[in-house]
């Protein structure tokens, strides 16, 4: 069971104008991934692009592993071109995982945009217990809605343009939520994943309200195994590697 394996592309579905769902079947037995962990994926077979790209586990299914990804640059554009039956090299699973909540906690999952990718499998593991706050730019960017509804009856959606759910940023929705449920505040445990600005906002809110929790952060990565020191973020104990000590960190340890 190696963390460097070849996998066959089963499918690479276009979900909307900028998001895809990639399903791969490892050609050998692999290590079971945990929610929050990630893989390094070959997006092409030339030296341009050169480096593998990191993607969170979206779902582990019987056929293999799934990734939910947004096309934002050269690598993901090539990734979009992956055809079924192509063989790709994959590294992983890497990184820590989302710690399980103590029994007395109420998990609040806060996803911004493609951040839903890494929180989805956590929601699956938490089986119904979790609130899911999910913010996107607009209706069209909403991913896996049915799936999410199946995972919780406490799904709150927001869009920047109000095209569906509440209008505004998901961090504001979180703020409102905590104000309305202030009595239970010590029981909530946050799990956040999304773009930097959103994570910053969530950190601020968490500090103000004194709510504990975790967030999965992103940095450009080269090796994924802790060797290049390229993916560090500043924490209260100095720089830490997102690929090794992370990608999941305690909200209060991150210095923005």
């Amino acid at each position: 069971m190696s963390r460097y394996f070849k996998a066959e592309v089963i499918s690479n579905l276009t979900l909307n104008n900028n998001s895809n769902l990639l399903t791969i079947a490892p050609l050998q037995t692999i290590i079971d991934p945990e929610p929050g962990q990630f893989y390094m994926i070959d997006v092409g077979n030339t030296y341009d692009p050169l480096l593998k790209r990191p993607f969170s586990l979206f779902r582990k299914i019987p056929e293999g592993i799934q990734f939910l990804y947004r096309v934002i640059g050269r690598g993901t554009m090539l990734m979009k071109e992956l055809k079924s039956r192509e063989i790709i090299n994959v590294l992983g699973p890497f990184g820590n995982k989302y710690p399980e909540p103590e029994s007395d906690k109420i998990p609040l999952l806060i996803a911004g945009g493609i951040g839903i990718a890494s929180l989805f499998s956590l929601a699956e593991a938490l089986s119904k217990k979790a609130y899911i706050l999910y913010g996107v730019r607009n209706k069209d960017e909403l991913l896996m809605l049915d799936g999410l509804k199946g995972l919780t009856d406490k799904l709150i959606i927001s869009t920047d343009d109000g095209s569906i759910g509440e209008k505004g940023m998901i961090s504001d929705v979180l703020n409102e939520f905590l104000i309305h449920h202030s009595s239970l505040i010590t029981h909530y445990l946050l799990y956040a994943c999304g773009p930097k600005p959103m994570l910053e906002a969530v950190s601020r809110i968490a500090r103000e309200k004194g709510v504990k929790g975790y967030m999965s952060v992103e940095e450009n990565m080269a090796c994924g195994v802790g060797a290049c020191l390229g993916c560090t973020i500043k924490t209260i104990d100095g720089y830490k590697r997102v690929c090794k000590e992370g990608p999941v960190f305690l909200i209060e340890e991150i210095i923005w």
């Binding site: 190696s2 963390r3 460097y4 030296y47 341009d48 692009p49 050169l50 480096l51 593998k52 690598g75 090299n89 590294l91 940095e219 450009n220 990565m221 080269a222 090796c223 994924g224 195994v225 802790g226 060797a227 290049c228 020191l229 390229g230 993916c231 560090t232 973020i233 500043k234 100095g238 720089y239």
Partner: protein
């Protein structure tokens, strides 16, 4: 088959080493690579005191290459000897320590202690483009370089002393000669080339440090040229570095004049690349009916 090579008095079971800063302290890749099979492991640059390194982003990709400005984050000399060296010692491979100081004293102290600690080799990093003081300034001034190497030479008794040259000079031959005359047992080149990238949408540099070092296949032709020029200018062995992705690239460096090679960025693309390269060199040597690697080094037919 005999793939042994000699770097000064140091005998390597094969010419494939890992490049400093791209293989951590060995441990990070031990899951993918049987470290016993490597010619040598060159560890991340070590400084006297621990260094915390540069803010993020520290890396970004460029055409057929990458930029890095790690800023020499490292555990420092003490912790390296206490925590990292013992682990590496468990393997049947040579350990070469890349060192960087802000002053000649620091370089001297580092090499003294490491030589005493019994490391197999010391690679003088006089070419790191990513730290304010030290580093590259030692590598781009001949007089300073000569004095630095002379000083370090006195304190290195057992280990082989390798000077890692900066590519950021007009005439690599002169610097190679200086390093040889000052007492280096060998040269290694090239280090990354100072470079930069800008995100045109945000107008911000892609690295927090603005400037970083370019590595990867993109720099290979420059590195091959410099290894060729350097190896013709000196008698001591030259270790070739720069964009080596496979065995053919490694052999290209040896034909240009390298006695051994260091593999850097390629480890990120394929964590087992070092082993693949060793096997590929073996296959090539067999296919060409060579007896040893001396027949490769400098074997370019330039007439």
């Amino acid at each position: 088959m005999d793939l042994t090579v000699h770097i000064g008095h140091l005998k390597l079971k094969n010419p494939v080493m890992t490049a400093s800063g791209t293989f951590g302290y060995g441990e990070e890749y031990s899951e993918f690579v049987d470290l016993n099979q490597l010619g040598a492991i060159v560890v991340k640059g070590i400084s006297l005191k621990p260094m915390e390194g540069n803010p993020s982003p520290r890396i970004c990709e460029t055409p057929c290459g990458m930029l890095n400005a790690i800023g020499l984050q490292n555990v420092g000399l003490k912790r390296f000897i206490k925590e990292k060296l013992p682990y590496l010692r468990r393997f049947d491979t040579k350990v070469i320590v890349n060192i960087l100081g802000n002053t000649m004293q620091e370089y001297k102290r580092l090499s003294e202690v490491l030589d005493g600690a019994g490391v197999d080799g010391i690679e003088l990093n006089v070419s790191c483009p990513n730290v304010k003081k030290g580093g590259i300034i030692f590598g781009t001034d001949k007089k300073i370089l000569a004095r630095l190497i002379g000083k370090v030479r006195q304190s290195v008794k057992k280990a082989v002393l390798i000077t890692k040259l900066s590519p950021n000079v007009s005439n690599i031959r002169e610097f190679s000669k200086v390093a040889e005359d000052a007492g280096s047992d060998a040269l290694s080149l090239i280090n990354t080339i100072p470079a930069m990238a800008i995100d045109v949408e945000t107008r911000r540099p892609k690295l927090a440090n603005i400037i970083g070092g370019l590595s990867g296949p993109a720099i290979k032709p420059i590195a091959i040229r410099m290894v060729w020029e350097a190896s013709k200018a000196v008698k001591i062995p030259v270790v070739g570095i720069g964009g080596i992705m496979n065995a053919m690239d490694a052999i290209e460096f040896m034909l240009a004049g390298a006695t051994a090679v260091e593999i850097g960025t390629a480890n990120f693309v394929n964590p087992r690349v070092t082993i693949a390269i060793i096997e590929g060199i073996e296959e090539y040597v067999r296919r060409k009916g060579l007896h040893n690697l001396k027949e490769l080094t400098g074997g370019l037919n330039a007439t």
